[in-house]
């Protein structure tokens, strides 16, 4: 590999070329197709890892071609290579997860299409990440959006089509904003090449606000921060589970990647932008967390948690110091790992029981110990429990917000800490009601080896990167480059040793006190309250108490009742915080105002048509 430049294009060409090939292969043999897609994705992952040494020193430009006034180019930087390796890793996990998962669709739906779209999706994401020019990026961005749309609507049920349409319309709105931003940028600065834009000192001051806000909204729709997050909790549950893992694991990260790239790599924006993004992030953390708590749908819960975690990344990125940026990017990476893991785990739960309702689940830990172990690692990582990787990135983020020298920095810190608490609450709900307690739904199937591998690999990575975060640091260092990042010392081994010690002590205590004999399996109970002690009159005043069964989701509903946050749930139920619905309201109001003129009567239309014609002719001829 003397000139890695040309080979770098293989990252893009192979998945896109394999996409139709996989369809044809699937017509020959399903098994061959599954192996082929696994090998392709794994190969790209390996290749991207092999490319790491080349980008340590600086950016890698390959393939430049002039087409008219636009120069199509692709290039790799340390950050985009990190993204590529994440994309290919998660796509690999999804493609080894999928063959098992798709068994329930076999016969009804075209699973060849699924794999073909999966590879196309991967190609689109990689293209959007490695594009060295904004129009090229836009093309792949749209490819990504389209492939994701068809994957979300893959089940072809009315709900999934509705969710997919919502996703598609919102994404296209965002894409239009991006396109407007690109065009504006092109008009004002004369280039869309990232390399040339990076060399420029600053944007034209009078256009910078509009360009940057267009980019923030456009990429933000994909990144799904509050309040333009509303497609995410609808689309994630309806998509097939491996696709939810991809959507949440990396697709929203591609949006974040571009936000980071535009705001911190390309243009030296004023700090107020950073503050605004940080505040948006803080709001997103808290609101996403609150909304996640009350969900009764596994995947919806995890989807809201994704929004909350996106808030962390945005907060770190918005703080914008070396520490904050590092925390944001590391959290981005970590979140891709554990959220992919959690969605795949949820996919297994859905696969084996056939339901997504938390109330109907329980006691799966005995049946699937490997899956339970992996999911609990992911869950604890999400909650930020040491020695897992989530703790590491959250720690950096806390540190960054403490060091942040702005008036509202304490608010950020409080939001982050509070969000972490919320994440503990909702993830406990997930773990408890799905895996612990008594079994409520019989298992129809058992997870195959591919599924177990797909959750096992990220679990091992979570644990490994938590205990030994060196590779993480090494991959981050060239991205932040110029800014000194780490001050003071942090001994990961020590913390890990402490925590493991604590766990061992706890286990020893558990064994000594012999709680096991006194406890028996009960229906799921939550929040320190159980069936006997719960004040039923307070929470469920109208329920018949004789035949009474408490569901975990109902106990969490007590949060809904509290006055401080009640408004949020009301707003969510009535779609007040959904821009999609808001736009539809505006559209409906507009159409209602026009309805009197267009009452479906031919004659009235004719009057309009002829009057308009005459007026237009008059205007045209009197010039």
């Amino acid at each position: 590999m003397s000139d890695p430049g040309i080979y770098g294009l293989a990252l893009l060409v192979i998945p896109l070329g394999a996409s139709p090939l996989v369809w044809l292969l699937g017509k020959v043999s399903k098994k061959l197709r599954n192996y082929f897609s696994g090998i392709i994705t794994l190969g790209i992952f390996g290749f991207s890892l092999a490319l790491f040494p080349y980008v340590q020193s600086g950016n890698l430009e390959f393939f430049t071609k002039e087409v008219g006034e636009v120069v199509i180019s692709f290039g790799l930087g340390p950050f985009s290579l990190l993204m590529v390796s994440l994309i290919s890793l998660l796509c690999f996990l999804a493609s080894i997860f999928s063959p098992n998962y798709l068994k329930r669709y076999e016969g009804n739906l075209n699973t060849n299409k699924y794999f073909s779209l999966l590879l196309g999706f991967m190609g689109g994401m990689i293209g959007a990440v490695i594009a060295g020019e904004l129009f090229t990026m836009f093309v792949f961005w749209e490819l990504m959006t389209l492939a994701a749309y068809f994957l979300i609507t893959f089940e072809n049920s009315p709900d999934s089509i509705k969710a997919g349409n919502k996703y598609f319309l919102m994404s296209e709105g965002g894409a239009l904003a991006i396109l407007a931003g690109i065009v504006l940028l092109w008009v004002t600065s004369g280039t869309t090449q990232l390399a040339e834009l990076g060399a420029m000192a600053a944007l034209e001051p009078e256009f910078s606000i509009s360009i940057l806000s267009l980019f923030l909204i456009g990429f933000g729709v994909k990144a799904a921060f509050f309040p333009i997050h509303s497609w995410l909790p609808d689309a994630h549950p309806e998509a097939p589970s491996p696709i939810s893992a991809l959507l949440s694991g990396i697709m929203i990260k591609v949006g974040l990647f571009w936000i980071i790239k535009v705001f911190w790599e390309l243009f030296s924006v004023s700090p107020s932008w950073g503050s605004a993004i940080a505040v948006i992030g803080a709001f997103t953390i808290v609101i996403g967390g609150f909304l996640a708590i009350v969900q009764n749908d596994i995947k919806r819960l995890i989807a809201y948690s994704s929004i909350s975690q996106v808030g962390y990344i945005l907060m770190g990125v918005g703080i914008g110091t070396g520490l904050g940026l590092a925390g944001g990017i590391i959290h981005l990476l970590n979140h891709a790992l554990f959220k992919g893991l959690l969605f795949l785990g949820a996919g297994i739960v859905v696969y084996v029981t056939g339901t997504r309702k938390l109330d109907d689940l329980g006691g799966l830990s005995k049946e699937m110990p490997v899956v339970f172990g992996s999911v609990i690692i992911g869950a604890l990582s999400l909650a930020g429990v040491p020695p897992l990787n989530g703790f590491y990135s959250k720690w950096i983020l806390y540190q960054a917000s403490i060091d942040f020298e702005r008036g509202f920095a304490p608010f950020l810190l409080v939001a982050a800490l509070f969000g972490s608490t919320l994440s503990v609450i909702y993830i406990t709900k997930f773990i408890y009601s799905a895996f612990l307690g008594e079994m409520k739904t019989e298992m129809d199937r058992s997870p195959g080896w591919g599924m177990k591998t797909a959750v096992g690999v990220p679990a091992i990575l979570c644990l490994g990167l938590g205990i030994y975060p060196r590779p993480l640091l090494d991959s981050i260092r060239p991205i932040i480059g110029r800014i000194p990042v780490f001050e003071g010392t942090w001994v990961a081994y020590m913390a890990a040793a402490f925590l493991l010690g604590a766990i061992i002590v706890g286990a020893a205590l558990y064994a000594l006190v012999d709680l096991k004999k006194r406890s028996k399996r009960k229906p799921a109970f939550m929040g320190g309250e159980n069936e006997e002690t719960i004040d039923t009159d307070m929470y469920f005043p109208y329920v018949d108490k004789l035949d009474f069964k408490v569901y975990p989701s109902e106990i969490y509903n007590s949060i809904k009742k509290s006055k401080m946050v009640n408004w949020l749930y009301v707003a969510e139920e009535r779609n007040f915080i959904d821009p999609y619905v808001a736009v539809s309201w505006v559209g409906k109001a507009l159409t209602r105002s026009f309805r009197w003129a267009h009452n479906g009567l031919l004659s009235r239309y004719l009057v309009w048509v002829f009057s308009g014609l005459i007026v237009i002719l008059w205007l045209l001829t009197t010039q």
Binding site: V607, F610, S611, L617, T621
Partner: protein
């Protein structure tokens, strides 16, 4: 010239009767009067081809309209009208006539064709070389079939499509399958 105006006034009156008459038969016959009056006017205007076409086409139009209404048992075609639309149409009429009056002066004076006003018009070319290049004494047909045969082909296509649409609409088998409706 006065004769032409008389015929046009006649057609306007016939058209008003056709529009306002409640009985289907009288309405359609008045419509026929419009067409036939115009065809005679065409004859006076020196366009015998169009006069012939107008007459035969009018006959077929009447037959089709009568089949569609009286043939189906509809003898009254009273077109109730609404007052708001009447106002609207009056406004429209005002607008239109203002527009027309504004641009009436742009037209050549009646009785003077473009041939008289301009020197090199396509019409002059057609008149001059019609017999020589196309071979027909009837210049209108020379234009239709030789100089502008593309237009005629397109026109045949339009006619074909319109008739195809009508047949598709009327064909029972298309809508209800073999064996009649429902």
């Amino acid at each position: 010239m006065v004769l032409i105006q008389i015929f046009l006034v006649f057609t306007i009156i016939a058209a008003l009767i056709a529009v306002e008459a409640p009985s289907a038969l009288s309405s359609i016959i008045s419509l026929g009067a419009v067409g036939f009056g115009l065809s005679i006017a065409f004859l006076w205007l020196g366009a015998p081809d169009i006069a012939i076409t107008q007459v035969v086409v009018e006959i077929l139009t009447l037959v089709i309209l009568i089949r569609a209404t009286i043939g189906k048992g509809v003898t009254e075609i009273r077109g109730n009208e609404s007052k708001t639309l009447l106002i609207g149409s009056l406004i429209l009429f005002g607008l239109g006539s203002a527009f027309f009056a504004n641009y009436l002066s742009a037209f050549p004076e009646f009785g003077k064709s473009a041939i008289d006003v301009f020197s090199e018009t396509p019409s002059q070319f057609y008149l001059k070389f019609g017999l020589e290049k196309a071979g027909g004494a009837n210049v209108v047909n020379d234009i239709l079939l030789d100089f502008r045969a593309y237009d005629t082909l397109g026109e045949a296509t339009v006619l074909f499509t319109a008739i195809l649409g009508a047949i598709t609409l009327l064909n029972k088998d298309v809508f209800f399958g073999e064996g009649g409706e429902k």
